[in-house]
Structure formats: C-alpha cells, structure tokens
C-alpha cells in the first residue's frame, strides 16, 4: 500500500523493556511498526500484558522508549517530554479518576484542557466567555453537567468523569486521540453510552484515534481498522472491507493461527 499523505502517527521499531539490565528485565514492546493515516480510527485488542497500554504510554511519552522512533504528523517526538507531546495528543485512561482533577470544578478542568499545548500565563484561568462555550459543549454530552459547572469533579460518577475526560481530550483538537480501555471500569450501560459519545466526537472532529478495548465486539463494531497485539508484537492488522466482515469467531481463529496459542483474556470473551 502506498501512502501519499504524511502518516498522522508513525511508529518504527519501538522497543521498551522495564527493569532493564536487571534479573527482572521484562521486554514488553519488541519492535512495533505502525502507521496511521489521518482519520484512521484503530481499535486495539490483545491479551492481558500484551503491551497495549505500554504502546500507548510510549506514544504519550510517559517515559523514553529504548529503541525506535515515534512521529506525529511528520514531527519526530521520540525525545520530546510527555507534557510537550501533550500538545498533539488527547488521552483518556482506564481509571476514571486519572483523567481529571477531582478537587477542581468541572469548568476549571475544561479550562485546563482548553490550554493544552499553550503557555500558561498570568492571565485569568477561566473567563466568562469560556464558561459559556463550555456550557454549550457540555450540553452535547446530555448528562446535565452544563447545569453543574461549578461542581467539583470528585462528586461525579465514573461515567460522567469519562465523558468529561473525553470532552477535555478533544476540546483542543488533538492530532491523535489515545483511549486506553476507557470504558472498562464502567457498567455495561454506561460503557455503551461513553462509547457512542466516543464515536460521535471522533466523527465530528475527524480525529485520528487509537482505542484499546478488552471487548472484541466493541473492537469489531467501532473504527475502520483493528490491530491485535500479542507478546509485544502486532500480530494482526485488519482494515477496510475485511474489518467490516469480522466476527469474534474469525478473530479468535486468526489469533490462534498467528500466535500459535489460545487467546488469554478472561474479559475479552464476555460482553
């Protein structure tokens, strides 16, 4: 496949080990290559410990990788620190507590997110004009949060927080949206709601996104491309028409063919 456009994300030979050089050395990413075209919405599945979160953390710059290069929209960010890379990235985590400042108000959290990638100055941190625009955007979530903008985020439910974190991640349009099992901690009904909100935000803003999920059905139903990870490698990469025809059975079969083992993720088969 020839790729005329600059990839929105390009991983080349990414390697990452933890406890490097000790007896506990654990090689987690063993040479990951991945190119995302602008507008790609890729779902990621794989067994526990396959390295999915580690790959997303590598992209986000939580620590430096041990080998390989990472570029976002043609810019090499391999050596860029986490907070500087944030300029390009929107992130939502598995733990609903992780994505927001719980002692701060809803509108304050949004104001922090609206300044992602900008210099924080001594200008007022939350203007009334901003509040009006946040109110409009919160209405879109359809959770009634627009009437509770001065509420501390700590008082919100997990689902409300994930919805808010999603909005925060997309308030400043990111070049790449990273979602790491962001519905895993929610009950099924709430998870479905947050997932449809995810689809909506990605579609409306024409975002490029990577979404890790433990749920194979979700991975099949969402996005235009699916990758499967196993033991630090990408072992499947299915896009376009083939992706549309996928079923859980086909996926499981492909998995055992390529990896030579059974799919081990208790949660993946449920739901």
């Amino acid at each position: 496949m020839s790729e005329p456009l600059t990839p929105m994300l390009s991983l080349k030979g990414i390697q990452k080990s933890f406890h490097r050089g000790t007896v506990n050395q654990k090689d987690v990413l063993k040479g990951i290559d991945l190119d995302l075209a602008p507008g790609d919405f890729v779902t990621i599945i794989g067994g526990n410990g396959a390295g999915k979160s580690t790959m997303l953390n590598a992209i986000a710059g939580v620590w430096k990788v041990d080998g390989g290069t990472i570029s976002v929209d043609g810019v090499d960010v391999t050596a860029t620190s986490e907070h500087k890379r944030a300029k390009y990235l929107g992130r939502v985590f598995q733990d609903p507590n992780m994505g927001t400042a719980s002692n701060m108000q809803i509108d304050e959290n949004l104001a922090l997110a609206a300044r992602r990638g900008k210099l924080r100055t001594l200008k007022w941190g939350l203007t009334s004009g901003e509040r009006a625009s946040y109110r409009e955007q919160l209405k879109m979530l359809d959770l009634g949060l627009e009437d509770r903008m001065s509420t501390k985020v700590g008082l919100l439910s997990g689902g409300q927080r994930q919805a808010l974190t999603l909005l925060m991640a997309t308030l400043q349009r990111p070049k790449l949206l990273l979602l790491d099992e962001h519905t895993a901690a929610l009950d099924p009904k709430t998870a479905a709601k947050v997932l449809s909100l995810t689809d909506q935000l990605i579609e409306e803003n024409h975002l490029t996104a990577l979404m890790v999920t433990h749920n194979m059905r979700d991975a099949i139903a969402h996005g235009n491309r699916l990758i499967m990870m196993h033991d630090g490698h990408i072992i499947l990469d299915i896009a376009g028409e083939e992706k549309k025809k996928l079923t859980v059975e086909i996926l499981l079969e492909k998995f055992s063919q390529t990896s030579g083992s059974e799919f081990v993720n208790d949660r993946a088969l449920l739901g």
């Binding site: 986000a60 620190s81 986490e82 907070h83 500087k84 944030a86 300029k87 990235l89 992130r91 985590f93 507590n97 992780m98 994505g99 927001t100 400042a101 719980s102 002692n103 701060m104 304050e108 104001a111 922090l112 997110a113 300044r115 992602r116 990638g117 900008k118 924080r120 100055t121 001594l122 200008k123 007022w124 941190g125 939350l126 959770l143 501390k152 008082l155 439910s157 689902g159 409300q160 919805a163 925060m168 009904k189 709430t190 709601k193 947050v194």
Partner: protein, 312 residues
Amino acid sequence: MVDILLSGTTQGLIWAILALGVYVSYRVLDIADLTCEGCITLGASVTALLLWKEVNPWLAVLIAFLAGCIAGGITGVLHTKMKIPPILAGILTMISLYSINIHIMSIATEKQGTANLSLLRIDNLYTDFSSSKLGELLNMGKTNAALLIGVIFCVGIIAILYWFFGTELGSSIRATGNNEKMCRAQGIDTDLTKIIGLALSNGLIAVSGALLSQYQGYSDVNMGVGSIVIGLASIIIGEAIFARTKRFAIMLIGIVVGSVIYRLVVSLVIFSGMPSTDLKVMTAVVVIVALCLTSFASKVRAKSAKGGKGNV
C-alpha cells in the same frame, strides 16, 4: 491581659503568613515541605542582616521573600529534577539553611558562627511606621503599628494568592497537587509547577520570618524548629472553623483566623503557667488529633459517597 491578647493577635497575624505558605505546599501541592523550618529563619536572618546594614525595612522584607523563593526553588529542583523524595529534599535544604543562616548573621557581626542577631535599637518596619507621617497622624504606638502592619500583610497576601491561583499558571499548580498524571496529559510541566509552588510557599514563609525578627527584636538560628507543625495547626484550626466553605478566599481567611486563635490559646496557656517548653508537644498533639479526626471524617464521607449514584 489586653496586652496579651493584642500581642497574641499580632503574632498570630505574622505566623499566619507562614501558615499560608505551608498551605501552598501542604494543601495545594500536597507536599509536606520541611524547608519551612530553615526558611522562616532565613527570612529572619536576611532581614536582620539588612537592617544592620541600614537597608529600608520594606525592601528587606522583599529581599527576604526572594531569598525564601530561592530556597523553596532549590527544594523543588532537588525533588523534581534529581528525583529526591520531597520530604528528604526539604530536609536537605533545611539542614543547609542552618549553616547558611549562621553565615548570613555572621556577615553582620563579622564574627564567625553568629547564631543570633539582636535588632534592639535598630529601626524596623514598626518603628518606621509609627514615626512616619501616617503613623503620627493615626497616633500609633509601636504595638498598634505592628498589629496594623500584620493586617496589611495578611490582607495583601490573601489578595495576591487569590488572584494568583485563579490565573492559568496558578490553576495549573493547583491541578498539579491534585493529579499529576492528568496535568502532564494536559501539557502542564509538573516539574515547573512544583518548583514555582514551592518557591512561592517558602517565599511567604520567609516573609513571616522577616516580620517575626523585627517584631521580637532578634533573629535566632533555632527559631524555625517546629514551625511547620505550627503552620499545620493553624491550617487545621482554620479548616475546622470554615469546614463547609468551598471558596478559596474564605479558606485563606480561615487559615489566618486559625493562626490567630492558635497564638491566643498559646498566650493564654503560657499566661496560666504552663512552661513554654511544653508548647511544642502540645502543638504536635493538637495536630495529631486533628489529622486523625479529618482522616476519619473523610473515610466516612468516602463511604457515604460510594452508595447511590445515578447512571453514568
């Protein structure tokens, strides 16, 4: 008796500035920063030296503030850039300040190892103010001037803190104390926000020391011992009084009130005959009890919050 209440209040206002500084590190940044103990003395020593050198007392307070900022900034760098745990980083700066403070005071006396510096018969903020035109107009003695200056400093610092923590930078410092991971995901340089927060915190603590040395008429290398606990006690008393408030400004006022109450209680306890050397253990017990109560209360709150939340 009136004298005791008056001097207790004045001292309470001076220590309130320290408590506000401790609030910035302990509550806003969520770091227990022991730099405090050396930093109040740093403020006092710098001020004492400058007054000996006949520098304008207001300017001396400003320079003490900057010195405190540097000390706090160093703790911040030790913690963030050299990955030293914050408690240890604070202790390292505090210990270094012990020697540095002696050096600072030695400059004034030109004698090595000067551990205290008297400011009696040296002009300071309070004498300056009471002999100024305004002071004469108000017919203010030194005691009233000290009270008024304490009020002015507290009001001014609360106003500045209120403004600062409302700005983009200030908000990002608040967020850092709340959730670092989220901050980095939102593009906030959490090393920088911590360093700035610790610098501000210790700047305020040094201002407290600057006023204290002028008020009590000396600077002593050991004057900071236990000061962080006094700051914490003031914060806890303030929070207990204004337990229901969500407003930042009220919270800050509460800390000043807490500090004044603490000082008044201390004055009365000493007045009633308790040896002043027992104060530190009494303060520690107050803080321990209060911390136990608050952690108990938040556990109860967390439990009740878990039950019954609607969908999504």
